[in-house]
Subunit: 282 residues, 2 copies
């Protein structure tokens, strides 16, 4: 079983680790636009060989885990290189543009569009960890456009990695993910910015920060490359989510300015329902 | 050693647990405006006796861990009841109004104004946990207004609980804590609200939420009673922090709308510095 991983960062690297564990006979090969990442991945044993596009004709699997705007650009070309029974899947956090980029490709049926909802705030090959996908949701879009036999194989592999599957159309995916994932990243980055700006000359102040701040600002450690790319690809949904978030913050500020503590209490009490909703998310 | 805990929630309850562990001979007594909390604290063994204000004359220690707006109201009265060598400390998340409420009190020198920066998103006696204060910062305000011998004893107790001490004036405390703690709570509550509003009819969507969302929205589980009270007490600082946060979000949205991906990248890259700043916060 020959597996090619294109993009040896947190997601590609972690997939390599988990596949090697689930399929010890697998031969892992990799590529990355950044040569240092390839060297690092070889040293770390994420992959055993460096590869080039020409090698893909022998691939059983090709995993494309590059920033999403690059993904829509290179995916059609990757499909040009693969063999008849190669399965290609991506791990992009947006799905509309990626699905569109290959909609009329002769090898469309070799591609399965997926978004494994898993990650950490770290990036690069050294961020790869075992078991990242265990118990996580993997969203598959336009499953009907993938050859049935290849779907079956892909589902087997996802199951071996411990993922649970949800099916969704790309438009719904991109709308909802803007709220439950992309918006969190902006809220966290801007929280970090606001506090750093205020406290830039007073490093001691961060002694005052507790675990609450650390948790809320954790995503502000994430890769700017990954996230600028995601916001670009999902611009209108992200902008709409951000608009609603800002309106809610302005409303809360108005309640505060009006000394409407009952109003603030109610806003918070209504949102406490998130407790039940979050049950089951790690 | 007789310890009276007034307010048997997360903070008061956790202090009771840690003090009993550090000083096994301590007799823990408690009061709470909510009678059920007293019963629960007795059942859980957080305290061994229910108490009334008249008992405080025998107290070695009185810990006041009630919502901050109640705290400024009841603290002067509590000082009326204590004995000559009783040490009273609070655990309020704001300090200006609390310090002001007792500035001219005859027993001011028995009081030490503290803010242990520790907590979880849970509340009530059942939220009490062992070791909550270990390794955490405890901010002491206006230390010079506490009798020196009582300061010494208080420092010993805080050390026994594993806390590290920082000194700060109440005005600086309230300004900075608005940024590193209070703002995080609003950003998290409003993130939760925005997502719940959007997805109210589509519970399945939360299958798409990953650990990033869970982390960012964690504080939205916090107690509305505690936090409405904090925002009330620290209104002007919180409003200013919120204003700057909203301005930063609006600026980010503008970059997105203008397709300025380099601008977004830079905003995020600059904020990545939070990695170093957060080192050491659990």
């Amino acid at each position: 079983m020959k597996v090619y991983v294109i993009g040896l960062g947190l997601i590609g690297g972690s997939l390599a680790l988990d596949i090697k564990k689930a399929y010890p006979e697998a031969v892992l090969c990799g590529m990355d636009a950044n040569e240092k990442h390839v060297e690092e991945a070889l040293l770390m044993g994420l992959i055993s060989h460096a590869a080039v596009l020409d090698d893909l004709k022998d691939a059983d699997w090709v995993i494309v885990a590059v920033p999403v705007n690059t993904l829509s650009e290179i995916l059609p070309d990757i499909l040009n290189y693969i063999g008849e029974n190669t399965i290609v899947f991506d791990a992009g956090s947006t799905k509309v543009a990626i699905c569109k980029s290959v909609e009329n490709h002769l090898r469309r049926r070799n591609f399965i569009a997926t978004h494994p909802i898993a990650g950490t705030e770290f990036s690069g090959p050294s961020a790869a960890i075992h078991g990242l996908f265990s118990g996580k949701t993997n969203i598959i879009c336009e499953v009907e456009k993938t050859a049935f036999k290849l779907q079956e194989k892909a589902l087997e592999l996802f199951k071996a990695l411990g993922m649970r599957i949800r099916y969704m159309d790309p438009v719904s995916h991109d709308t909802h993910i803007a709220y439950v994932s992309h918006l969190s990243h902006i809220s966290s980055f801007m929280l970090g910015k606001t506090v750093i700006e205020k406290e830039k000359d007073e490093r001691d102040i961060f002694d005052m920060a507790g675990s609450g701040f650390a948790s809320t600002v954790r995503l502000a450690k994430s890769s700017p490359t990954t996230w600028a790319s995601i916001f670009k690809e999902n611009k209108s949904n992200v902008s709409q989510a951000l608009q609603q978030y800002i309106a809610n913050l302005q409303n809360f500020q108005q309640l505060l300015e009006n000394d409407d503590y009952n109003g603030m209490f109610e806003e918070m009490e209504n949102t406490n329902r998130i407790k039940n909703i979050l049950n089951g998310i790690n």
